[in-house]
Symmetry: C2
Subunit: 461 residues, 2 copies
């Protein structure tokens, strides 16, 4: 029954894609210079959707929209916009509009906004901030890129450890510069070291005379400002954190990271992994020009060309054999292709297990053994299939035996290389997602051609 | 300077990986039957880490740990544990322990726990719940798998729209069955339709006589219980939601989804995409046995075998040509390999752009044109390189010309297929991540071999 109803409901559901007609009406209004109609169409949209819209239209349309509507742009739109066009958008805005837009933002958003900008643009934005905000942003920028220190917001809500619920509520009612979103009140000692936190839900549900220390959460984790942001995202997902205090070298509270920022990092990290596994620059974006795209993709295709030439030089060793038995030329790409695919399967599983911290010294040998056995089993299965194919196709049983043996060897090597290469890269401090694929397919190509043609030379000639 | 300090701090940082020594001590204690030492070692660990530990040890060690320590297991450990071993763990637990563990959980966690279990195990868990909880879980289970209705928790905190801050706080202090975590109070009308929400921060910072309707959030989104969970995760990430009310067909409030659950879904969706792009079953896990792993990977290797044989049959058409010019056999895998890689680059970008809803009717033609131009440009670059390689290697300028022309043709086809195939699959309602790779590499193999060997036959013979 659930299935039937699900159909009935499909039409009602939003899929959050930007409505194509709306985009057309917006570009129309921009095109014909109707500033008012444009503003009326953009006004109801969420900042994230406006950012997406600016990414999806053509560069000329983008310029028109910014010219007509730029004065009303929100700081949030700037933080949502893809880095590939952020600089272009910021340059298109009048100075005072930019200053106004930036002043509304929390410190972590300002950091995110300016860290990739050129010096003069950075200066322009920093100057627009009032002194406290500027100091907070500059402090964050002293931490390395992709660190917790860059991700955190400096605006934190703290309470001395001896306060009661009532005192805390009175403080919150008095304070008029609270962060937009906060989920905990962090208890600090006189040295400003965080020692626990209270959820706002507990605070609301407790009597005024309850001591804060009575209602702190059991599980409490602080994050070092030097921690890699990828590990921060992992910790949020693993431990279901909502917000976590960030501390400096002396364990003093310097900021707080909230789960929405951690979720955005998790999303980016995954995106990077997928693009890197495919040999695409991890900064690639749908708004990149042809030349930018070529520049991102050429290097990896270049490396692939070198490894392909290497594999071909293995074939060249056996030119004589192929000259006598042309069937080998027909069949050899199958051996290489199966090896490459099996290797990619194993390496993807290994890269993911490393990223999710599920491949550790406790189970690494068990996993290697499993992959080796899987390789041998798959090898045996496809040895049978392809042995039969070769026999039937070319009428030579011995050719079937040669391809069968090459298949077992190559799928075994694919499995071992598929797990060993990412492990070695990780040990060497390289990103296994970035380079594993090339190494593994080079190995399966070379081994595949060598085993198949070598065995053929030995057995068939 | 940031760089230097970063080194200095590297040692201090946690990377959240399970400590290998600790795992050894735990398996030691389990092995030698020391229940107390085992409990002492496990007690300080977070439920998510205990679940990871159970996944990383061998099946025999897992049985020992559960036998000695199972009585103290927490419901949360069960929800954290990977589906591949969840059934095994649940079966190892005494009935009363299971009942106790499950009673602590929120309704969404119970749903997540039981939806993949066999009927008798489901019944056992449902029976352990008290009547209200059981009704809530059963209600959630009426929604389809992977829907918002399954993801939501039924425990919600609501207030009538006419309440003041003070009335709300008094209610929260009186109520003793509040959810563990909640971030908003949802305002409902008398028909139980959600009409807005108030963050707990605003509630705490406002005076008691403030009306709730005065401090509701500007942006308020409800989610249909029928919505796909992947779209829910997208909405949370896109609009920075922290929690969102879920409504039924009549727009009545039926539950709430919180960001930590949305983050977990986002993580799973990415994982699925990566594994599918690599042709690995998306349920694959590090705990799978050799046979399970073979079963997951064989089908895709089988399809790959068929497409490889198809590509080989193209080569077979040109057996005569290869017999006369063996250099063609040496060079042809390069053409196919470059095409396969370029196609994978384009298709990965296309699959991601579809998943992030950045590839829409507004920009699809611009993106296709860009990819085609990128393909031609890359084709031209590698035509020059490989033309030169072939010329130098074999001393035949005409061979260089043939491989150059084949390169341009194949990289153009790779680009067009790389974008067209995922688009068509998406239109047909299939998951582009699942099947695109096979289609695209088959096309680049077939076109690559045909163009190269066909041109060679026409030009060189």
């Amino acid at each position: 029954m659930a299935e039937e109803r699900s159909d009935e409901h499909e039409r009602e559901e939003e899929d959050y894609r930007l409505d194509g007609d709306l985009v057309d009406r917006i570009t129309d209004a921009a095109d014909s210079g109707e500033a008012e109609r444009l503003a009326a169409l953009l006004e109801p949209l969420h900042a994230a959707d406006i950012a997406d819209l600016l990414e999806q239209v053509s560069p000329a349309e983008r310029r028109d929209i910014l010219r007509l509507w730029g004065r009303e742009i929100d700081g949030e739109v700037l933080t949502e916009i893809d880095e590939s066009i952020r600089e272009e958008v910021i340059e298109a805005l009048p100075k005072d509009v930019l200053a106004e837009a930036v002043r509304e933002l929390d410190s972590d958003d300002v950091v995110d906004l300016i860290e990739d900008l050129e010096e003069p643009q950075q200066e322009a934005i920093l100057e627009a901030l009032d002194e406290t905000d500027r100091a907070a942003v500059e402090q964050s920028l002293t931490y390395p890129e992709y660190s917790a220190g860059r991700l955190m917001q400096r605006e934190v809500v703290t309470a001395p450890e001896h306060w009661s619920v009532g005192e805390t509520i009175d403080f919150l009612r008095r304070e008029d510069e609270l962060p937009d979103q906060f989920y905990h009140v962090i208890l600090v000692d006189p040295g400003h070291h965080p020692i626990g936190y209270v959820t706002l839900g507990k605070l609301l549900a407790s009597k005024r005379d309850m001591a804060l220390t009575e209602i702190t959460e059991d599980s409490f984790r602080t994050i070092s400002a030097w921690q890699e942001e990828a590990d921060v995202a992992y910790a949020f997902n693993q431990y279901h954190l909502i917000s976590a205090p960030v501390v400096d070298d002396h364990d003093r509270l310097v900021g707080v990271i909230t789960i929405d920022d951690a979720m955005a990092v998790l999303d980016e990290e995954h995106e990077e992994d997928i693009l890197r596994l495919a040999g695409v620059g991890d900064e690639s974006s749908i708004t990149d020009s042809v030349l930018e795209t070529v520049r991102q993709r050429l290097p990896w295709l270049g490396i692939n060309m070198l490894t392909a030439v290497l594999a071909s030089s293995v074939i060249k060793l056996f030119e004589g054999t192929i000259g006598q038995i042309v069937a080998l030329a027909v069949l050899m790409p199958i051996v290489a292709s199966m090896g490459g695919n099996a290797g990619t399967q194993t390496l993807t599983v290994a890269v993911r297990a490393l990223a999710t911290k599920n491949l550790t010294q406790s189970n690494v040998w068990r996993v290697i053994r499993r992959e080796a056995l899987v390789g041998l089993t798959n090898g045996a299965v496809f040895a049978l299939c392809l042995g039969a194919v070769a026999w039937v196709w070319f009428g030579t049983p011995a050719l079937g035996l040669v391809i069968a043996a090459a298949m077992v060897i190559n799928l075994f090597i694919a499995a071992v290389a598929g797990i060993a290469v990412p492990l070695v890269l990780e040990k060497l401090g390289a990103d296994p997602a970035l380079a594993s694929g090339t190494f593994v397919t080079t190995m399966t190509d070379v081994v595949g051609f060598f085993a198949f043609l070598g065995l053929a030379t030995a057995v068939l000639l």
